[in-house]
């Protein structure tokens, strides 16, 4: 009996080692970037993807030998990407709040894979299994104690990861370069006072970290059935969990954390099915527990290890040199030109809608309906990010709660979908409120990562229960949701449902505007600058945060429900999966999270940009003939991801978004001319996110 258990444990450890080293490898690279630049580089996965694709392209498709392929993809492309990212983007964000660089990294996560695909003309295809860097990597096996057999690829990845960890640790501890990098991490200014060029040091740190991303990408690829950016992003989140074990700054502990996660998952996989035989309550969960493990670990570490949150930002001793943060919101007095602009905008919108309703073909009506439903979801980002100043990466999960609730109520109890949507909003609001409680003591980047962990947890576990989605039907779209009927009014046609959605959107927009002007809105805004300051004027940050999360979750839930009613089925993977929902934040932030216009423009862009602009429909209409559209068009829909992913870069300097940017600039000039003292009180409270 005992011998058996012992054997099982050893087997599990051996089994867990290869994926564990993969996690360790990514965790190392992530920690390296975090340690040396302070950037929470979620784009690490995208960088890994870039090298993996180039390796695949050169080696598998163009038939280059391994070494030149490896050299180009890992030792040339990867550091080059790091160089560009640092010198073009992150260098300029060094004094920006960490949340800004996080948002930019999210934008890059979206943009980089598309840039790579476009540049290399690459299209992920099923069954196109990535190759490793050793010949016959996935077909030659080496058994250990007759318990488990390592493939060549696995052995190679383990060897490289271990060697890389040792080399890195030695570099940091024993070399002058490593010492300089550590110095820059703590204080670029103090480093400069020592006569060392901080810029140059941090660019080499970025190149090194990016080299790691590339190496990890090429080594990991053979573990995936196909090359897809989403998988690389997933691995990064798992690796963050591993790195969190080492407080995100310790290389050896990140390595051990990665291995431990791999082994723990293997152990769970071995033992949980057996326990489930004895304890029937475990049975429905047995397949869901293990994939969720990293995310649960990450969430718990974030919530219960306060030391982690302080680890990186061990205060710069020369922080006193920085000017006080620039206030980004100038209360805008509505001017005459503003009224003209708004009137024009509204007129344009109305005209567009009239054209759409009278002339629009079915495809346009369908896309517009989708856009209207999505806009309701995006308005939830206006509340949580624009108003309350938090970056939430689980709005997709909240929307999915609304969608699943509607589906379940309709499928099981034949409830009207509209009732279902309201119920979905309420359930989502409750989930949001519950989630916000453990997050009370977190701030900034850490809220973003905790919500990301929640989104992945939801993705791995919650979606697969029979009382939410269904274990099998989540991706395939057989969770059918009917269209509503109100009395004599049947909304089966896209046109009539679009009218209904637009009405709901209008109500939601007005509600968000009213909210932002109400006392509650002021309270939410007051906490975004400084919770301590808010507390001192009698606002409870706890209440504000619970409120912000539940309102935003509720609205996202409503929007999610409307979206699946509009699409007539729950397509969880395409609509709500964590990676898909990242793009929502990117769009809203690019257009501006501060006002509802940003959310609406973002949603319109999400659904219509491809059809209207990239496929040349609009130009064709302007030129009165589809034949005269320039040969350049149609262009790939991936340009949408590139454009708006890169659009987040301006977030750091203009968190108000492109729509507000010009207006704010005008107002700032005006405000500088005639300073009003009472403005300044509000300004201080509304200091940037």
């Amino acid at each position: 009996m005992f011998a058996n258990i012992g054997e099982d444990i050893v087997t599990a450890v051996l089994q867990g080692a290869p994926p564990g080293t993969v996690y360790a490898l990514v965790a190392l690279g992530f920690v390296l970037a975090y340690k040396t630049s302070g950037v929470f580089n979620l784009a690490f996965g995208a960088q890994a993807y870039a090298s993996a694709v180039l390796y695949f392209k050169t080696h598998a498709e163009w038939g280059w030998p391994v070494l030149p392929s490896l050299a180009v993809s890992v030792f040339v492309l990867a550091p080059l990407v790091g160089f560009l990212l640092e010198s073009l983007i992150f260098r300029h964000l060094r004094t920006a709040p960490p949340v800004s660089s996080l948002v930019v990294a999210i934008g890059l996560t979206i943009a980089i894979p598309s840039i790579v695909d476009l540049a290399l003309d690459f299209q992920p295809r099923n069954g196109q299994i990535p190759l490793g860097i050793v010949p016959n990597g996935n077909s030659v096996y080496y058994p250990v104690f007759d318990l488990y057999s390592f493939s060549r690829d696995e052995l190679m990845a383990m060897g490289v990861a271990t060697a890389a960890m040792l080399a890195l640790a030695a570099m940091f501890r024993f070399t002058m370069v490593g010492l300089k990098m550590r110095a820059v991490v703590e204080s670029p200014r103090l480093t400069e006072l020592n006569g060392l060029a901080a810029d140059r040091i941090s660019i080499s740190a970025w190149m090194l970290s990016s080299l790691f991303a590339g190496l990890a990408g090429v080594l990991i690829a053979p573990r995936f059935p196909t090359l897809a950016p989403g998988r690389f992003f997933d691995i990064v989140v798992v690796a963050i969990a591993a790195a969190a074990v080492g407080a995100l700054v310790s290389l050896p502990r990140a390595y051990i954390g990665g291995l431990a996660l791999g082994v723990a998952i293997a152990l769970f996989n071995t033992f949980i099915p057996r326990w489930a035989n004895d304890h029937s309550w475990l049975r429905p969960m047995q397949n869901n527990i293990t994939p969720a493990l990293p995310f649960v670990v990450l969430f718990l570490v974030l919530v219960f290890m306060p030391g982690l949150r302080r680890a990186r930002f061990a205060a710069d001793p020369l922080a006193g040199v920085d000017p006080p943060p620039r206030s980004t919101v100038i209360p805008a007095p509505i001017s005459a030109s503003e009224i003209v602009r708004r009137t024009l905008g509204t007129t344009l919108l109305v005209v567009t809608l009239i054209v759409l309703f009278t002339r629009g073909d079915s495809a346009f009506l369908y896309l517009a309906g989708q856009g209207a439903a999505l806009a309701v979801v995006y308005l939830s980002i206006t509340i949580i990010t624009g108003l309350a100043g938090h970056i939430s990466l689980c709005q997709g999960s909240f929307a999915a709660v609304g969608a699943f609730t509607t589906y379940q109520l309709a499928a099981r109890y034949d409830t009207s979908v509209l009732v279902g949507a309201v119920a979905g909003a309420l359930v989502a609001a409750a989930v949001g409120a519950l989630l916000s409680v453990p997050l009370i003591r977190l701030s900034g980047v850490w809220i973003a990562i905790a919500t990301l962990a929640f989104a992945f947890f939801f993705d791995a576990v919650m979606v697969k229960f029979s009382w939410t989605g269904a274990p099998s039907g989540v991706a395939t779209g057989d969770l059918v949701v009917p269209r509503p009927v109100i009395g004599p009014w049947d909304m089966a046609s896209d046109k009539s449902f679009l009218a209904f959605l637009l009405a709901v959107l209008a109500i939601a927009t007005v509600a968000v505007m009213l909210l932002s002007r109400s006392t509650t809105g002021r309270m939410l805004r007051a906490t975004r600058g400084s919770e301590i300051a808010a507390q001192s004027i009698g606002i409870s940050p706890t209440r504000a945060r619970v409120l912000a999360f539940s309102l935003a979750a509720g609205l996202a839930g409503l929007g999610g429900a409307l979206l699946v009613i509009q699409q007539e089925s729950v397509n969880y993977d395409t609509n709500f999966a964590p990676f898909a929902a990242l793009f929502w934040l990117v769009l809203v932030v690019t257009f501006g999270a501060r006002a509802p216009e940003g959310a609406i423009a973002g949603a319109a862009t999400f659904t219509l940009f491809d059809k209207v602009v990239l496929q040349g429909t609009f130009i064709g209409w302007l030129l009165r003939s589809p034949d005269r559209v320039p040969g350049l068009l149609p262009v790939s829909p991936k340009w949408r991801l590139v454009l708006f992913g890169l659009g987040t870069i301006q977030y750091a300097s203009h968190p108000e978004g492109v729509l507000e940017m010009a207006r704010a600039r005008r107002n700032r000039r005006r405000a500088e001319d005639d300073d009003h003292d009472d403005d300044h009180v509000e300004l201080a409270l509304e200091a940037s996110v």
Binding site: M176, L179, V185, L190, G195, L196, A314, P317, V321, P323
Partner: protein
């Protein structure tokens, strides 16, 4: 009002001036901290910067070492205009700045803190000698060489900061709140080391609470008030004048 021209004696040696601030305005974002500052420090000259809290002494020191870039005017170090240059160029031009307070790398050991600048100036071969020199100056640092600087006491961190700039043997040494937090014996050591550097031709810009110490070391005194030098004179002149200034209540901003 530029009082630089009214300064007595040594600013004839403009060509080899260690530091020249010409009509400098500087601040933090929209906030202005320095107005129309003119100041020349010749090689080997020691200047004490005096003024009440918030007068702009630290800001002036930051401008002189490149940490804060002036919005107007220019900064010339050893004949080179470095106005818009990053701080490391100032350091390479021979400016060593010991900022006020605990300005050490808390996560590096004492030895690593010192190695950073010693290695740059003297190379790998000179590392050992440089470290020995620092430890001879402040023996306690030698005892703590493997300890993380963040775990040192305030006074020890101050010694570490001073050790770095003293061992640098720069052209211009700037010390902000020089002796704040140092034990009397260590203050004395530090002043002796500064005196030696001065004799070997290093220019000094000293910001100091103990004005008597500073006056004994320095040739000239600059009084800063609300961001602008209001008086420049020799130490002797300053002694009589400061009696009155220091004992009148501080000006409110």
């Amino acid at each position: 009002m530029g009082l630089g021209g009214a300064a007595p004696a040594k600013n004839g040696a403009d060509v080899s001036a260690a530091l020249e601030l010409r009509r400098v305005y500087a601040g933090y974002g929209p906030f202005r901290a320095l107005f129309d500052v003119n100041l020349t420090i010749a090689a080997g000259e020691a200047v004490a910067l005096v003024g009440s809290n918030g007068a702009g002494k630290t800001s002036l020191a930051r401008v002189a070492s490149g940490l804060v870039t002036p919005s107007e005017g220019s900064v010339v170090v050893n004949g080179r205009d470095l106005t818009r240059a990053p701080a490391y160029r100032y350091a390479r031009a021979g400016v060593a700045h010991a900022p006020e307070g605990r300005s050490v790398f808390a996560t590096l050991t004492v030895e690593e803190n010192l190695e950073l600048s010693i290695h740059r100036i003297r190379g790998r071969k000179g590392l050992k000698a440089g470290l020995e020199q620092a430890y001879a100056l402040y023996p306690i640092l030698g005892e703590r060489r493997q300890q993380l600087a963040g775990t040192l006491s305030g006074g020890e961190q101050r010694m570490l900061t001073m050790a770095r700039v003293l061992v640098d043997a720069p052209r211009l040494l700037i010390a902000d709140e020089l002796s704040l937090g140092l034990a009397p014996l260590m203050v004395q050591h530090t002043y002796e080391a500064l005196q030696q550097l001065r004799q070997s031709g290093v220019a000094l810009l000293v910001i100091e609470q103990h004005v008597t110490h500073a006056l004994a070391l320095c040739d000239r005194v600059v009084i800063l008030d609300r961001g602008t030098p209001t008086w420049i004179g020799s130490s002797e002149q300053a002694r009589t004048r400061l009696q009155t200034v220091l004992h009148s209540p501080p000006t409110s901003n």
